[in-house]
């Protein structure tokens, strides 16, 4: 079996090009700064976050009821509702719908769920062509790569690199580096696919239990182009996408785009309630481990995520290591608390890819305690034995010494006298880039004890 991807070594590779890493950091920091500006213009921002958090907590506390309400309303509206226990069942359901309609080409707007279920390779194997229609997703799809960011899938690529991809796959002139011309090329290319697709698949941002309708948010209108042109519309959603009432959209839509990209609203927030005459509409509701996470009180709140990626943009580690340094299909802090639910061993390095600075928790529009959950996963991962033996040995030794003053003094004396040697050889991970401070002649406790003895 392949060794699971270790975040630290992938980050090491990413940082081999410091200029590019700095560009990546600054690009995402700009998005964070835009988010700050937008959020600061909403006087009730913090109340909105609190409301969103409470609505989500309430919903998660009676998720089954709301899901059933949604399903029956949606069915009453003429939408076919399907339930998938896992990714494989999801793929089978989607394929069976497409097969029944003899679909040969499907356009798909952004859906991280279909990444999670590996839908594209599944359908391609069955002879169905899948065209991702979000511009960023199309770029990485042409590269045969996954998105590096859940909101901006190709944020790690520079314009000239997009030009190269388009030159190779879309036949644009070599060396094209003009945003206007590149976008126009993508527009023409995608328009052709929209017009000739037999089915459209979209994600779901919010499914409303009260109405049985759902909302899809995009900036490019690609979900609408697909769904409005194709005779079959399939919308796929994780079961946590549900909100109780239509009025709650007012809370989430105000938070989502501001948190995600610093826009007051997504350009398109499209409400789908029922199929148009002659169209067939399906909703596939997927569990795939979510109910397992729901049953874990420490991690339940992670299901409140609205996939805005504000935690990506603010995360100093993500910005300096890139989406591909994470072993899970959702990168960043939120991915690092979702991944161990799926596979603790394969993603054992992710909860440690954080300084626990807490910026993710503070920026989260639904107040998920991301950094606290990272710390909790660390405990479970080491308890399950997914940590090197020497790490445990070092921690056992430290824990033993710091409770025994004489041993601590001895260990401290040794460390202080050894530090100049470490500074010269620069072989350990600390002194490779950093000096240890010059060792003082006396520790604080030595000084303090001397002073106390003198005084008494």
């Amino acid at each position: 079996m392949d060794q699971p991807l270790q975040h630290s070594s992938a980050a090491h590779d990413f940082l081999r090009d410091p200029q590019r890493a700095a560009w990546h950091d600054q690009t995402l920091w700009m998005v964070r700064a835009k988010r700050d500006r937008m959020a600061s213009r909403v006087p009730e921002w913090e109340q909105l976050r609190e409301a969103a958090s409470q609505i989500k907590e309430h919903t998660l506390s009676r998720l089954a009821d709301y899901l059933e309400q949604f399903a029956s309303k949606a069915e009453a509206n003429g939408i076919h509702v399907h339930w998938a226990a896992d990714g494989e069942e999801h793929n089978r359901i989607v394929h069976s719908i497409l097969k029944r309609h003899g679909v040969r080409k499907m356009v798909k707007s952004k859906s991280m769920l279909t990444e999670e279920c590996h839908l594209n390779p599944y359908l391609e194997q069955k002879g169905i062509e899948v065209i991702d229609t979000d511009l960023g997703e199309r770029i990485v799809q042409l590269q045969q790569k996954p998105p590096s960011h859940i909101v901006m899938p190709a944020i790690h690529l520079k314009r000239a690199e997009v030009g190269e991809v388009f030159h190779e796959h879309l036949g644009t002139p070599a060396g094209l580096d003009d945003a206007q011309q590149l976008t126009e090329a993508a527009r023409q290319h995608l328009r052709n696919h929209f017009l000739t697709a037999d089915a459209a698949l979209t994600g779901v941002n919010f499914a409303v239990a009260e109405t049985g309708g759902f909302v899809v948010c995009t900036n490019e209108g690609n979900a609408d182009m697909g769904a409005h042109l194709a005779p079959v519309h399939i919308a796929c959603m994780g079961l946590e996408k549900i909100i109780p009432e239509q009025k709650h959209l007012g809370v989430f839509l105000r938070l989502l785009a501001r948190s995600a990209t610093g826009q007051p609203s997504t350009v398109f927030s499209s409400h789908f309630l029922k199929p148009r005459p002659g169209q067939e509409m399906h909703v596939v509701i997927v569990d795939n481990g979510r109910s397992r996470q729901l049953a874990r009180p420490d991690y339940r709140k992670s299901l409140a995520c609205i996939r805005c990626a504000a935690c990506f943009n603010t995360c100093p580690v993500y910005r300096r290591s890139g989406g591909y340094s994470y072993s899970f299909f959702i990168a960043g802090p939120i991915g690092s608390i979702l991944a161990p639910n799926v596979d603790k061993a394969a993603h054992s390095s992710l909860p440690f890819a954080s300084t626990l600075c807490g910026s993710c928790t503070a920026v989260c529009p639904v107040k998920i305690d991301i950094h606290s959950q990272l710390l909790k996963w660390r405990q479970e991962i080491t308890a399950a034995g997914h940590a090197p033996w020497w790490k445990k040995a070092a921690m056992l030794a430290t824990a033993f010494a710091v409770r025994r003053p004489a041993l601590f003094r001895l260990g401290g004396w040794f460390m202080r006298h050894a530090s100049p040697v470490f500074n010269v050889f620069k072989l350990d991970p600390w002194t490779r880039t950093r000096d240890l401070p010059p060792a003082p002649a006396q520790t604080f406790r030595q000084w303090h004890n001397q002073r106390s003895n003198r005084d008494s």
Partner: protein, 253 residues
């Protein structure tokens, strides 16, 4: 009021001057300060590395050794946060008596002025555990009124100028054992912080957390040795040595 001072392991061993400055500040307020021998460490390194069970002994020692004090002060936001959270989880009454130094000076002692003098341009590194964990200030992510207890204390120091920063509260990349296990990201984050402080003319970088400064100072020592790191206690205590035994120069507010 009885005061217990907790000097964390690495400050005891590597930065005794920080312990001395903290003690001088507290004694300057007229307190009798005791320094118990145990524990040497709050247990955070073990807990953050995924061995919270190994940190329990330290937390237990702390709870019993420091139970006798009205207030407990420590010049390390990160250690205080770990102690507070661990003690709260145990429903220990000690949890609410542990204070980071700035929090104690600002909230409990309520000082309004300081006799300190430090005529330098200072960059304030808002350590994450102090800022977002203990609430020593408002963080840039939250749309709440801006305030900073460490900055208010620094503003009481004569001649001191706080330099503005492009990223007011980004993490320095220390993160405990993160600094070793993720040394590349850690170093990159530290370098970016340093550049920000340098670009705004800081001569000294200060913080309520010496661990962040150990990381930043370790980088500075190789890359820009003319810039120093100093714990905030050292600055608040600057040039106070001669006043240490004088009449209350610190006014309780």
């Amino acid at each position: 009021m009885t005061l217990g001072l907790f000097i964390p392991c690495y400050i005891d061993q590597l930065y005794p001057q920080v312990g001395k400055a903290t003690l001088a500040l507290l004694e300057g307020l007229g307190h009798d300060v005791a320094v118990p021998e145990r524990p040497a460490c709050c247990g955070q390194p073990m807990s953050n590395s995924g061995y919270a069970n190994l940190s329990a002994g330290c937390v237990g020692d702390f709870a019993s050794e420091y139970a006798r004090f009205d207030h407990i002060v420590s010049p390390s936001g990160s250690c205080v946060l770990h102690l507070k959270e661990s003690l709260e989880a145990l429903h220990s009454p000690v949890a609410h008596r542990v204070h980071e130094l700035c929090e104690f000076l600002h909230d409990v002692a309520g000082i309004q002025s300081l006799p300190a003098h430090f005529p330098h341009k200072v960059g304030l590194h808002q350590s994450c555990h102090g800022l977002r964990g203990l609430g020593l200030g408002s963080c840039s992510e939250c749309m709440t009124p801006a305030f900073s207890k460490p900055a208010r204390l620094l503003q009481m120091v004569q001649g001191l100028e706080i330099v503005p920063l492009d990223r007011s509260d980004e993490c320095c990349g220390f993160g405990g054992t993160f600094s070793v296990f993720e040394k590349d990201v850690s170093t990159s984050m530290g370098r970016d912080r340093i550049r920000d402080h340098m670009a705004h003319g800081a001569e000294v970088i200060t913080s309520a957390d010496m661990s962040c400064l150990m990381h930043l100072g370790g980088l500075l020592s190789r890359e820009a040795p003319h810039i120093k790191v100093m714990h905030i206690a050292e600055i608040l205590n600057a040039s106070m040595a001669e006043f240490a035994v004088a009449e209350p120069l610190l006014s309780n507010g």
